[in-house]
Symmetry: C2
């Protein structure tokens, strides 16, 4: 392009000064109020009384990287534990674009209309939104966020999925102690996050939309096997027939998978979160599931297994963290990785050299 | 039952003395010969010259639990490494009854008829057959065991899959250094053994037979996704039509899985290991696969990834071993597991108590 000293026809005037997009005085108030740190007993009492401010503060402690905060968080969690567990935990996954937020809003509103108290959490290890963010996911669920029987908390941020998942898992306990009886955990499905969510919920729901006909291509490995229900969203207007076809195809595909140890046969249904149709049927499916697994005791067995799994996962994660962050290991690891790639060292010998150094 | 001092009508006479079922002098010879321990240099030279006795001795060292033997095994493996890797590694899985041994015998004979040198190994963590067993799997492959271009070694025994897999992986290196250009690794599919075998081979083959029509039910989770080829065995006699139907059904099912990063589209074929039909086609499929992945460099990338994976796996396994076998941890672990199950401790808090004790 030719350089032109004259102003382009597309040039816009500077315009009038805009007001600040946030209130300075409100910000100062938030910062000031955060400096007052209530004790853990006070927070526990607040949580058990259903005080949302106390719940939010406790979750902030859970999400903190500060060692003092973590110790306090542990105290609170252990005090809340006997009051937790009286809920149903529902995992919801689906790729971006299937309408997860619209669905969760419609689903959540349906649940609160039935007199339930709903907490919506998220596991998104790619999230960079800090826990203090005033906006975040909430703007996407305008109705639910105003509902006094709903509590929405965006994903904790963190470097590892393990860390994010741990924080979400502890947040579940706090929400349950605060009286929330239905916990919805959303995941965007980055990396192994579905597996992490699957291992902390009672019921796992895969949200889909009907596509170009070849519905099953492009579904992430293992997701179909984890799903207790597949719900095809956006079954409205011109989409209704396509959604019905997709339902048939998913039903056929589900037959290919081995029977679930819960005894439950996964279901496929259609809904329109936008038109609020088929939402009640989703809750009915979950109720049917709960009736089955509470009768055959799979529900409590699974929760016990999940608790044990998370204890072991935490241990294994920490053992690895300690090893791979060891200053002497970091350098030697890179060196040995190269030697293994170039066939100068067997993988086993390379591992042994590192382990000997680590255990001294 | 009433006690009866008279001999029952069912009583059998003691009979004549039986000859010993093994030759005492042969046994002594074996024991004597085992006492002579050649040095690692001697064994390496033997292996590189293609000496089967040296190869077998080295594998016995790899399989040993003796620390001195392991150190010697490591020396040998590292000396063999530059001479390894020039092979194709094929994993074969299938439930008992599909005719794995008959298939491997027919397949192996076909390969040696093409001038190839074939080593047959196994990963079976349930195996209690000691490495010194003279019989084992070999009796099931009468033709192949007599073939001078074939070497059959039963599975190492071991308490953990990790241990058995490590030994098999190192045995691959030794076999390759001894000039075997085609390594077949069989697994019976106990626990996670298919995943272990999948992570040490270039090509993964699932052997099936046609069943009662509902072919896909009962297939273990994840197996279909790992398979590069599904081969339906026993396609002979009355079975031919059923096998063809099964082939159609598997082909349809394979379409449901996401595309492979190798760019390879898994194949389904039928064969009769008994009548030796369709065996050459299996090798043709593998050859086609190799041509593809050597052209698009997936072959070497996968091997590099596998090496790195095994280094990390070995480290992670040892870190866990060290922790879970720690005497102070064992008792506390049981105690904390119970506390977690009874909701007296959060999984995270329980893990932290254990980790603090471990790291002192």
């Amino acid at each position: 392009m030719e350089k032109n000293s004259k102003k382009s026809a597309l040039h816009e005037k500077d315009g009038i000064p805009q007001p600040e997009s946030f209130s300075q005085s409100a910000l100062e108030k938030v910062v000031r109020s955060r400096k007052i740190q209530p004790g853990s007993e006070e927070l526990v009492n607040g949580i058990l009384a259903g005080d949302i401010a106390a719940l939010s503060r406790a979750i902030t402690l859970v999400e903190s990287t500060n060692v003092t905060h973590l110790a306090k968080a542990n105290e609170i969690i252990n005090a809340c534990l006997p009051h937790a567990n009286k809920s149903v935990r529902i995992g919801i996954t689906g790729v971006p674009g299937v309408g997860k937020s619209t669905f969760i809003e419609a689903f959540g509103k349906h649940l609160t209309s039935l007199g339930k108290k709903v907490a919506v959490l998220a596991v998104d290890p790619s999230s960079t939104i800090s826990h203090g963010s005033i906006l975040g996911d909430k703007t996407r669920m305008e109705e639910l966020v105003k509902d006094k029987n709903a509590y929405i908390r965006p994903s904790a941020s963190g470097e590892t999925l393990g860390g994010v998942a741990r924080k979400t898992r502890e947040t579940i306990i706090l929400c349950e102690a605060a009286g929330f009886d239905t916990i919805v955990i959303e995941t965007v499905g980055v990396g192994q996050s579905e597996t992490a969510v699957h291992s902390m919920v009672d019921f796992f729901l895969l949200l889909k939309i009907s596509g170009a006909g070849d519905e099953l291509q492009g579904i992430k490995r293992g997701i179909m096997e984890m799903a207790d229900a597949i719900v095809i969203n956006k079954a409205d207007g011109d989409n209704i027939n396509k959604a019905k076809l997709a339902k048939t195809e998913f039903n056929r595909a589900l037959h290919l998978f081995p029977a679930k140890s819960s005894g439950w046969i996964p279901t496929v249904s259609t809904c329109s979160a936008y038109e609020k149709t088929g939402i009640d049927a989703v809750w009915q499916t979950i109720s049917d599931y709960l009736e089955l697994v509470k009768t055959n005791h799979y529900f409590e067995e699974k929760r016990k297994d999940q608790n044990q799994y998370w204890m072991m996962e935490t241990i294994n994660e920490q053992l690895k963290n300690n090893f791979y962050h060891h200053p002497e290991i970091i350098a030697l690891l890179e060196q040995n990785k190269k030697a293994v790639q170039n066939d100068e060292l067997s993988p086993f010998a390379a591992a042994m050299i590192l382990l000997e150094k680590y255990f001294k």
